[in-house]
C-alpha cells in the first residue's frame, strides 16, 4: 500500500521546487540568506525525511530514527536566531512544506476521502511538531545570545582603576543587581592583590538605588578586603541612598564613607603617609597660550 512518504520519495525533486517557492514567499528579509543556501538547506531536510528508515513513524517524532532530522532543524533554527530572522519566519520554513505534500496526497487518494483525511492529519501533525521544535531551538539560540551579551556587559562594567601607588578605585555606574555586584566585588578583590593596594575606594555616585541585598554584598566585600589586609572607603553616597540605608537598618558604622571620591582619595593618601599640598604660585588651571602674558 502506497503512503504519503513513498510518494514524497518518488517526487522529491518537484516537491523541493514547490517547497522553495513557499519558503521564499514567507521570508520578508531576503537579504539575510541567499537562494543557493536556502535550497541546499531545504534539500538536506527533505532528504532526511525521505531517507528516514522504514520503522520511522510520522506519529512518533521522539523515536531515534528522527533524531538526525531534529538535530539538523535545531542547528538551522539556532543559526537563524543569530542571523536575525523572526520566530515566525523560522517556523514558516518547515510549515511551508505542508502545502506541497498535501497536494501530493490529494493526487494519490483522490477517490478515498477517509484515507486522504487520515494521511493529511498525520502529515499535518508531524510538521506542526517539527515547527514547534524549530521554535524551541530558535528561542534557545536567542537565549545563548543574551547570555553572551550579559557576560560581555559584566566584563565591561568592572573597571578597576589605579589612582596612586597602593590605591585603587572602582567607580560603579548603573543599577546593581546581586549577580553583577558579586562579579564586581570579586574583580575588586582580585585587583587589590594584583596591584598590591592597601586602599580601595568604591565610588557609587553613578548608582541610582541600593537595596538590602546589594548593601549586604558591599559590606561583605569590605569585610573580605579587610581579611586580605586592605581597607575600603565608600564614596559618593547620594542622599536618597543614605536614607534607604538607614531605613533598611543596614549598619555602615564600621565602614568609612566619604561624600566625594576626591575626599576618599585624600583620606587614602593621608593614611598611606602622603599629603596633598597646594603650590602657592599656581592658582588653578592655566591655559597654555595665556602663560606668557
Amino acid at each position: 500500500m502506497a503512503n504519503v512518504l513513498d510518494v514524497v520519495r518518488r517526487n522529491q525533486e518537484s516537491l523541493l521546487q514547490e517547497w522553495l517557492e513557499g519558503i521564499k514567499g514567507g521570508i520578508r528579509r531576503r537579504d539575510l540568506i541567499d537562494d543557493r543556501e536556502l535550497k541546499s538547506q531545504a534539500a538536506e531536510v527533505l532528504t532526511m525525511i525521505c531517507d528516514a528508515p522504514g520503522e520511522a513513524a510520522l506519529d512518533n517524532l521522539n523515536s531515534p530514527p528522527w533524531q538526525p532530522l531534529k538535530d539538523l532543524l535545531a542547528s538551522l533554527s539556532t543559526t537563524r536566531a543569530v542571523q536575525g530572522f523572526t520566530p515566525s519566519e523560522t517556523a514558516m520554513f518547515i510549515l511551508s512544506l505542508k502545502g506541497p505534500i498535501f497536494g501530493l496526497a490529494l493526487k494519490l487518494h483522490k477517490n478515498d476521502v477517509d484515507l486522504l483525511f487520515s494521511e493529511i492529519t498525520a502529515v499535518d501533525d508531524f510538521i506542526d511538531k517539527l515547527a514547534l521544535h524549530t521554535t524551541d531551538s530558535y528561542i534557545h539560540g536567542r537565549d545563548q545570545v543574551i547570555v553572551r551579551q550579559q557576560e560581555e556587559m559584566l566584563e565591561l562594567s568592572t573597571p578597576v582603576v589605579t589612582l596612586w601607588d597602593g590605591i585603587v578605585a572602582l567607580p560603579l555606574i548603573g543599577t546593581l543587581d546581586s549577580a553583577r555586584t558579586q562579579i564586581v566585588m570579586e574583580s575588586l578583590l582580585q585587583a587589590i592583590v594584583q596591584t598590591n593596594s592597601r586602599f580601595a575606594i568604591i565610588d557609587i555616585t553613578g548608582v541610582p538605588t541600593v537595596d538590602t541585598l546589594v548593601a549586604q554584598h558591599l559590606l561583605k566585600t569590605i569585610t573580605a578586603a579587610r581579611l586580605m589586609g586592605a581597607e575600603c572607603i565608600i564614596s559618593g553616597i547620594r542622599p536618597q541612598i543614605a536614607q534607604t540605608i538607614v531605613h533598611l537598618g543596614i549598619n555602615l558604622e564600621d565602614v568609612i564613607t566619604k561624600a566625594k571620591l576626591s575626599d576618599a582619595f585624600r583620606l587614602a593618601l593621608e593614611r598611606s603617609g602622603r599629603s596633598v599640598t597646594r603650590n602657592s604660585k599656581s592658582n588653578g588651571p592655566v591655559l597654555s597660550g595665556a602663560r606668557e602674558q
Binding site: M185, E186, L189, Q190, I192, V193, N196, S197, R198, K220, T223, A224, A225, R226, L227, M228, G229, A230
Partner: protein, 133 residues
C-alpha cells in the same frame, strides 16, 4: 610527627603555612607557637597564609586563638596574604575574625609589626636590645 616550621627573626616569629592542614596539625602549631613566643620573648608573630586554598571555621578559630594567646603573652600577631576567594568564603561562612590584624603580604605585615612594636617601646621607654640589623 608532622610540624609546621617556625622561623625566628630578632623579636619576631615567622610562620608560613604551606600544607593543607588537618585539625591536629593546626592545634600543634598553636601549641608550638605559644611555647616559642614565651621561650624567646617574641614581640611579634607573622603568619603567612598566601598558599592556603581554604580557611574553614576551625582554621579561622585557630588563627583567632593564636592572636589572642599571643596578645596575652605580649606579642602582636598579623596574618598576611589571604587569597580573595578564601576571604569571600570566610565572610560567607560568617567569620569576620574581628580580633586579627591583617596585611596584604609579608612585606607590609613586617612593616606593621615594626611600627607597633617600636611605638610600644617608645611609650615604655624600652632600652633592651634592638632588633635592627
Amino acid at each position: 610527627m608532622e610540624r609546621i616550621p617556625i622561623l625566628r627573626m630578632g623579636n619576631f616569629l615567622l610562620v608560613t603555612i604551606q600544607v593543607d592542614m588537618h585539625d591536629k596539625l593546626a592545634l600543634t602549631l598553636q601549641d608550638d607557637l605559644t611555647a616559642k613566643i614565651a621561650d624567646v620573648g617574641a614581640k611579634g608573630v607573622l603568619i603567612d597564609i598566601s598558599s592556603l586554598e581554604i580557611v574553614d571555621s576551625f582554621i579561622g578559630r585557630t588563627l583567632a586563638n593564636i592572636a589572642s594567646m599571643a596578645r596575652v603573652l605580649d606579642a602582636q600577631t598579623v596574618v598576611v596574604g589571604m587569597q580573595p576567594a578564601v576571604a569571600i568564603t570566610l565572610v560567607e561562612l560568617g567569620m569576620s575574625l574581628p580580633g586579627i590584624r591583617t596585611a596584604l603580604n609579608v612585606e607590609s605585615g613586617m612593616e606593621y609589626l615594626k611600627e607597633t612594636v617600636i611605638d610600644y617601646r617608645n611609650g615604655e621607654d624600652y632600652d633592651g636590645d634592638s632588633e635592627q640589623d
